[in-house]
């Protein structure tokens, strides 16, 4: 808001806008005149055109399991030809980046690839140094969705250590792969124990996880662990499930 200005009837108002702000070249905008009871409020809104940026705001990669999907991104903007971009972080080991050859006559850019080696919805950002003083860094978000065939519900099992008595919950594991069998469920970290139960009629397999009270120090306020479910699911033959308990351990018998 750059007003309000008090105007007499029949008198016009001329505005000139001037560029300001780092990384912001000449700005174009609209002027909105907002009539109030007596005064006029003047609002100048504009749209920033960056000196340098990517030609896309987001890379949405969806490789099939075991495949790699790639996309090209280029720098755009009035300073892009002067940029010497260098990737400092890809955000994940699943994502690799190769610079596009300068002799192809294209704008500076990269080929970004995601390897579909791990099912799930992965996300991160490319961090790029531009070599330009006006806009030294750029970030480009990417998503990489690799379809899974194995599901665990709930995916983040939680135990309330405050409550008395034995603590146990059942997670359900299912796969679209046929025939599918769970080979084992092992706790590899933490004060927990797991038991594979008989399959449900729909083919899903319950796994009961118990907290081993005796393995938790009396003054502990939380417990973490890891469950490994091994099956013949081709995409995730070894599924890792994080286990988490909160609260000061209560070892009293159930009320």
């Amino acid at each position: 808001v750059i007003g309000p200005y008090r105007l007499s009837l029949g008198i016009g108002l001329a505005l000139a806008s001037q560029a300001c702000g780092k990384g912001t070249p000449a700005r174009q905008g609209t002027v909105e005149v907002v009539p109030a009871t007596i005064d006029l409020g003047v609002v100048h809104q504009d749209q920033v055109q960056p000196l340098v940026g990517f030609d896309t705001a987001f890379l949405d990669l969806r490789p099939e399991f075991g495949q790699t999907q790639s996309a090209q991104v280029h720098l755009v903007g009035p300073r892009a030809p002067k940029a010497r971009p260098r990737v400092t972080d890809t955000g994940s080991a699943l994502v690799t980046v190769a610079p596009l050859a300068a002799d192809t006559g294209e704008r500076p850019g990269f080929r970004v690839s995601c390897q579909g080696s791990k099912p799930g919805m992965h996300a991160g950002s490319l961090m790029v140094e531009t070599g330009l003083a006006e806009q030294p860094t750029l970030a480009l978000s990417w998503g990489c969705r690799v379809p899974a065939t194995l599901q665990v519900e709930p995916s983040n099992p939680y135990f309330n250590l405050h409550v008395s008595g034995d603590r146990a919950l059942t997670i359900t594991v299912r796969s679209t792969h046929r025939p599918w069998v769970v080979k084992s469920a092992r706790v590899t970290e933490g004060p927990f124990a797991a038991t594979v139960e008989a399959p449900n009629p729909d083919g899903s397999v319950p796994i009961t996880i118990r907290v081993k009270n005796q393995d938790i120090p009396d003054d502990a306020r939380s417990a973490t662990g890891k469950l490994i479910v091994e099956s013949n699911d081709p995409r995730e033959p070894r599924k890792e499930v994080p286990l988490f308990g909160f609260g000061k351990i209560n070892k009293a018998p159930a009320q």
Binding site: Q45, V48, D60, M121, A123, S141, Y158, N160, F246
Partner: protein, 300 residues
């Protein structure tokens, strides 16, 4: 996450403390000021002080509304919230997506700063819940100068959660509910939530406006229902009575004092209600109806 498996009541920290022990004893969580609205670095040490063991709110879980991305671009580009006009940079519902994309690196840095700050003062073993970025959906609407795709919104949210999780393994996350998503909420968010890695979230939560305790719909003007949301997101629901326009108090919502209403919502997946401006006798109201309340469907 909470100390007992029961329907949970919460309020903002100052209201809890002014209500005294009779109110605090009935609460399971408190809500401090929205995170990231004042500056680019951690400024919520007071949460750790008021919530530390032995302090007034020491037995409660902090449920922190994270507004870092919105707060950053509001501060740096003179934006208003979507329902507020008069800011020189425009408002979040029009310019927010563009500026958040532009400033993404700085926003991630700020997230990591707050995560480190909380890890330092709150620690990494006691539970803390973050309600992530109210109305994230607004950045995908066509009114934006550079709207995101839904997939982009989901991926960006994953990055924000990971930025907090990096320092806070004890953090649990809640995904915001905009009851107007898609066709005014008619699919209860099913399509919208398919763009998010729901394994990252323990809850979903309403924010920033009143919700209906006494109807199947979350809000009368939208088509999303409580039961539909629970089915679509697969997560228990943290409900709130909300602020009014411009953050002004919307007052106590007495519909959330009726046990029959709450039990109906419990049956549809609601596990808590936050009254942002409770009456002075709210503690005794809760105490009086506690025995009539059902046990929530899930107690994460």
């Amino acid at each position: 996450v909470f100390s007992q498996c029961r329907f949970h009541f919460g309020t903002i920290d100052s209201k809890a403390k002014s209500g005294g022990a009779s109110l605090i004893d009935q609460l399971d969580y408190f809500i401090p000021g929205w995170m990231g609205t004042n500056g680019d670095t951690f400024d919520q040490g007071y949460v750790c002080e008021e919530g530390k063991e032995g302090a007034a709110l020491g037995k409660l879980v902090p449920v922190v509304v994270s507004y870092i991305a919105a707060g950053y671009v509001k501060r740096h580009h003179q934006l208003c919230d979507a329902n507020v006009s008069g800011c020189s940079g425009g408002d979040l519902a029009k310019n927010g997506a563009q500026y958040i994309t532009q400033d993404w690196s700085a926003i991630l840095t700020e997230y990591k700063s707050f995560a480190a700050g909380y890890a330092n003062c709150w620690g990494t073993t006691r539970p803390i819940v973050f309600e992530m970025e109210p109305d994230w959906y607004q950045y995908t609407i066509s009114n934006q100068t550079q709207p995101w795709t839904a997939a982009q919104a989901g991926s960006k949210m994953t990055e924000l959660v990971n930025a907090l999780k990096g320092s806070l393994p004890n953090a649990r996350f809640s995904l915001d509910v905009s009851p107007w998503v898609g066709s005014n909420g008619s699919d209860s968010g099913k399509a919208w939530y398919s763009n998010f890695d729901m394994s990252l979230y323990t809850f979903v939560n309403t924010s920033g406006g009143g919700t209906n305790a006494n109807t199947a719909k979350i809000r009368s003007s939208n088509n999303m229902t409580w039961a539909g949301l629970f089915a679509a997101a697969g997560k228990p629901i943290l409900a709130d009575t909300g602020y009014g326009a411009n953050g002004m108090s919307a007052g106590h919502d007495a519909n959330w004092d009726v046990a029959a209403n709450i039990n109906a919502r419990i049956a549809e997946g609601v596990v808590s209600i936050a009254q942002y401006n409770p009456n002075g006798n709210w503690g005794s109201t809760i105490s009086g109806m506690r025995s009539q309340l059902s046990t929530p469907k899930v107690c994460p």
